[in-house]
C-alpha cells in the first residue's frame, strides 16, 4: 500500500500560549454552573422512562388475574437470539380458567441472550408479553439472569385488557347456543 505523508499544520502563536483554549473551556464551565444539573444520582434517583421504552420482557395478567399467556410459543419461534424457552401445559377443565385450555408450565427468558428487540411483544396474539420500563437486570450467576415464569409475572404485573376475548368466550359458553 502506498504511504501518503501528511504534514501537520504548525500551531499558531495564540494556540501555543493555550490561553484561548483555557478561556473557551472556562466559558462553558461558567455557563453550565448557572443551569440545572443534567446528570442524576443513580441509583437513588432514577430517570423517567419514555412511554414506549423497550425494557425487560415481562408477562402480564389481565384485570381478573388470569395469566394471559396461552403458551402458543410464537415468541419462542420469533425470538432472534433464542432467549425464550416455553414448556406448554394444559389447564384442568375444572380450574377457573379451564375454558382457556392451555397455559405455560414453564416460561424462561434468558436475559443474557435477550437483545430487547421487542419482536416477542409484537408477535404475541394474546397480548401477554410486554417490554416494560424495567431496564436494569443484574445478577451474580448465569442462572440468576434467567427470568422464570413467577419472576416474569412479578415484573409484569397487570395491564388493562382491550379485548376480553376469553371472557366473551366463557360468557358465550354459559349462554349456550342462541337458536
Amino acid at each position: 500500500m502506498a504511504v501518503i505523508p501528511v504534514s501537520r499544520k504548525p500551531l499558531s502563536f495564540a494556540e501555543r500560549t493555550y490561553i484561548p483554549q483555557i478561556l473557551g473551556g472556562l466559558k462553558i464551565t461558567f455557563k453550565r454552573m448557572l443551569k440545572p444539573a443534567e446528570t442524576m444520582e443513580y441509583p437513588e434517583q432514577r430517570p423517567e422512562i419514555p412511554k414506549h421504552y423497550r425494557g425487560v420482557p415481562t408477562l402480564v395478567k389481565d384485570p381478573n388475574g388470569r395469566e394471559k399467556c396461552v403458551s402458543c410459543q410464537l415468541c419462542e419461534f420469533v425470538c432472534p437470539p433464542k432467549a425464550i424457552r416455553i414448556t406448554p401445559g394444559e389447564i384442568p377443565l375444572d380450574a377457573p380458567t379451564g375454558h382457556v385450555e392451555k397455559a405455560p408450565q414453564a416460561f424462561d427468558i434468558d436475559m443474557l441472550r435477550c437483545i430487547y428487540c421487542g419482536l416477542c411483544q409484537e408477535v404475541c396474539p394474546e397480548e401477554a408479553i410486554f417490554l416494560q420500563n424495567q431496564y436494569s437486570m443484574t445478577g451474580y450467576t448465569r442462572a440468576e439472569m434467567v427470568n422464570h415464569k413467577d419472576r416474569l409475572y412479578e415484573l409484569g404485573g397487570t395491564l388493562p385488557d382491550q379485548h376480553h376475548k376469553w371472557d366473551k368466550k366463557k360468557a358465550a359458553e354459559e349462554h349456550g347456543n342462541a337458536h
Partner: protein, 568 residues
C-alpha cells in the same frame, strides 16, 4: 418382474396447460400433476369421495362440436376449437378427467367460490389458533391466508360446542373447530372397518359423535387425527406438547411388525414428540397403527442400558470387547441374532458368526395379524436375516436347539444381539451355565446374567434398512442422537468382528453398504444413499417356498406356501 399394464391416458387442459393423466384421475390430482393447487378439505386421495366441503370448485368446459355433424366448432377469434364452459362451477374432487376436459382454476368465479366457502367455514370457527395443536399444519389456516377476508362480517353470537370430548382413549375432539368434512367418518367406516363415528343434528348444530355406547378405540383411531384438515381431532398424547413448526421430521419405519409402515419421526432437540405415517402407496398408503406411534417412548425408557458392564461392573467399550474376545478364544460360541436388527447389523452378525464358525439362531415373534397394517410376524426384519444369509430357514419362537446344546455342554459362550434369551425359552440355569455377551438397549434377565453387556441404540437413534414382508428394502434414518453410554450397534459389532479375528469391517453405514453390496448378491446393485424413500423391491423367488407367518394385509398377499400354513 412383470411390468404393470400401461394405464390408459386422457389429455386434459388445466389453466391452459395440456397434460395426459391416467383415466380415472380426478381433477384435483390432475391439477397437482401440473403444479396447480386446488384447495380442498373433504377430499383425501385414499378415501371415498363425498364432495361436501365445496372448496375445490373449479370452472370446467368441453370442446364444442356441432350437434348435427359432430364437427369441431372453431372459434373465429382464435382459430382454435371453441370451449363450451359450464356456466356454474363444478367440484374438482368428484369429476374425473375426460378427454379434452378444460379446467380453469384462476378465474374470478373460482376465487369468489373459494372466498365464499371460506367465509362460511370461518363464521363459527373459534379463534383458537394460539392454543390449537393443528396450527402450522392446518388446511383452514393455510386457505384463510389465501382466501380469507381477514375480518368477520358475522355479528351474531358464535356457535358454542363442546371443546374437550374424549372420543376414545387416544383421540380428543374439539367440536367448535370441526368443518364437517367427514374424512374421519369415512376412514373409520372404510379403512378401519370400525364404523363408530357419525354426524348428528342439522345445520350449525351438526356435531361429530360416536355411536351411543361405543368409542373410537380401534388401533387405527389416530389416523383420524392425521387426516383431520383442522384441529378438531387431536391426539391426546401429543396434545399441547409442542408446536409443530419446531419439530424436525425424519423418515423412519414402523418396527412393530413385518409390514414396515413408513413413518415420520417428529423431534426437537433430541426429544421425540410424535410419530406419524408417511405416504407409501405400495405399503401403508397414508396410515399406520396407533401402537406404532407410542414406540418413541422406548427411547427414554427407565430400563435403558446406559453403561458397558463386565460381570456387573461398569467398564469401557474397548475393555469389554477385549473381554468378549477372550471368551471367543475358548471356542464353542453360539450367536443369537435378531429379527429386530437392521439389515446392516444382521450382515455384521453373520460376519461374526462365520468368523467364529458359530451357529446363528433367530427368535421369531408371531402374533395375530389384523389384516390391515399389523402382520402376524412381529419382527420387522426376519427377511433381512434371510437376505443377508444370517439364517437359511425360518426361526422358531423358542431356542430349543440352543438350549439342548447348552445342556449338552457344546456351547460355552452365547452372543445375543438384542434378544432376551430368557424370554426365548432358556432357563436361568442354562443362562448361568454359559458366558453371555449381550448387545441390547434394555435391561432384562439376559442382561442381568450376561458376562459382558454392550448398550446399543434404538431404531430412532441410528440409520439402517429393514426388509419388509414384500421383500421391500426400506431405510430409516437417525432422528435423535444416541443415549449417553450407548454405542451404535454397527460400531459394537464391527469391533467384535475385529476382536474375533475377522479383520477390519467398516462400521459407517455408507461404507459398510459397499461391503454388503459386494458380498450379498441380492443387494448387489444398491447403496444406502440411493435407496429410494419408498423402498426397493427385491426378487423374492429364492425364498418363495418358505412358509412365512403373515396373512393378508394391506397391499400384501401371502405366497402359496405361506397360505397353506395360515390355512391349516
Amino acid at each position: 418382474m412383470i411390468a404393470p399394464p400401461k394405464p390408459e391416458l386422457v389429455t386434459v387442459n388445466i389453466d391452459g396447460k395440456e397434460i395426459a393423466v391416467p383415466k380415472g384421475t380426478n381433477v384435483i390430482e390432475a391439477a397437482r400433476l401440473v403444479g396447480v393447487d386446488v384447495p380442498h378439505y373433504c377430499y383425501h386421495p385414499k378415501l371415498a369421495i363425498v364432495g361436501n366441503c365445496r372448496m375445490c370448485l373449479v370452472e370446467m368446459g368441453m370442446p364444442a362440436v356441432d350437434p348435427a355433424t359432430k364437427a369441431p366448432v372453431i372459434d373465429p377469434a382464435t382459430g382454435k376449437q371453441k370451449i363450451n364452459w359450464i356456466p356454474r362451477p363444478q367440484i374438482g374432487c368428484g369429476t374425473n378427467a375426460a378427454p379434452g376436459l378444460h379446467i380453469r382454476t384462476n378465474t374470478p368465479m373460482v376465487k369468489d367460490c373459494r372466498e365464499g366457502v371460506m367465509e362460511f367455514l370461518l363464521i363459527n370457527h373459534p379463534l383458537d389458533c394460539p392454543i390449537c395443536d393443528q396450527a402450522g399444519e392446518c388446511k383452514l389456516q393455510e386457505q384463510a391466508t389465501g382466501y380469507g377476508r381477514g375480518y368477520s362480517r358475522f355479528i351474531e353470537q358464535k356457535n358454542v360446542k363442546p371443546k374437550r370430548t374424549q372420543l376414545g382413549p387416544r383421540v380428543t375432539l374439539d367440536d367448535e373447530r370441526c368443518v364437517l368434512c367427514s374424512r374421519c367418518i369415512r376412514f373409520s367406516r372404510d379403512i378401519a372397518k370400525d364404523d363408530v363415528l357419525g354426524f348428528i343434528d342439522r345445520g350449525s348444530h351438526s356435531t361429530l359423535t360416536c355411536y351411543p355406547g361405543k368409542k373410537l378405540e380401534n388401533n387405527y383411531s389416530l389416523n383420524t387425527v392425521d387426516i383431520c384438515p383442522v384441529g378438531a381431532l387431536t391426539s391426546t398424547d401429543f396434545r399441547f406438547k409442542m408446536r409443530v413448526w419446531f419439530l424436525k421430521q425424519t423418515n423412519s419405519i414402523d418396527t412393530e411388525s413385518s409390514v414396515g409402515a413408513n413413518t415420520v419421526v417428529w423431534s426437537r432437540e433430541g426429544a421425540i414428540y410424535r410419530i406419524t405415517p408417511r405416504r407409501n402407496d405400495e405399503v401403508n398408503d397414508t396410515w399406520m397403527a396407533d401402537t406404532g406411534r407410542v414406540l418413541y417412548k422406548q427411547v427414554k425408557a427407565d430400563n435403558r442400558l446406559t453403561s458397558v458392564k463386565i460381570n456387573g461392573a461398569d467398564s469401557g467399550l474397548d475393555i469389554a470387547v477385549n473381554a468378549a474376545a477372550e471368551l471367543f478364544k475358548a471356542g464353542s460360541v453360539a450367536i443369537v441374532g435378531s429379527g429386530r436388527s437392521s439389515v446392516e447389523e444382521q450382515f455384521l452378525t453373520r460376519k461374526l458368526a462365520t468368523t467364529l464358525k458359530a451357529p446363528a439362531h433367530l427368535v421369531s415373534r408371531v402374533g395375530e395379524g389384523d389384516r390391515l397394517l399389523i402382520s402376524a410376524d412381529r419382527n420387522p426384519n426376519v427377511r433381512g436375516a434371510l437376505v443377508t444369509g444370517l439364517i437359511a430357514a425360518l426361526p422358531s419362537a423358542q431356542l430349543t436347539e440352543l438350549a439342548a446344546q447348552i445342556d449338552a455342554g457344546k456351547v460355552k459362550t452365547v452372543v445375543s444381539v438384542g434378544e432376551d434369551l430368557a424370554a426365548a425359552g432358556l432357563s436361568a440355569a442354562q443362562l448361568a451355565k454359559v458366558a453371555i455377551v449381550y448387545l441390547g438397549t434394555y435391561a432384562n434377565e439376559t442382561s442381568a446374567a450376561a458376562r459382558v453387556v454392550l448398550p446399543t441404540l434404538t431404531v430412532f437413534e441410528k440409520g439402517g434398512t429393514f426388509v419388509n414382508q414384500q421383500f421391500r428394502v426400506q431405510k430409516f434414518l437417525k432422528a435423535v442422537p444416541g443415549a449417553e453410554g450407548a454405542t451404535d450397534d454397527l460400531v459394537v459389532l464391527a469391533k467384535l468382528v475385529a476382536a474375533a479375528g475377522g479383520g477390519s469391517v467398516p462400521s459407517e453405514i455408507n461404507t459398510l453398504w459397499k461391503t454388503i453390496a459386494a458380498e450379498v448378491p441380492a443387494l448387489g446393485t444398491m447403496t444406502f444413499a440411493n435407496l429410494p424413500e419408498t423402498g426397493l423391491l427385491l426378487d423374492a423367488t429364492p425364498w418363495s417356498a418358505l412358509p412365512f407367518a403373515e396373512g393378508e394385509t394391506l397391499h400384501y398377499k401371502p405366497t402359496k406356501a405361506a397360505q397353506l400354513v395360515v390355512g391349516s
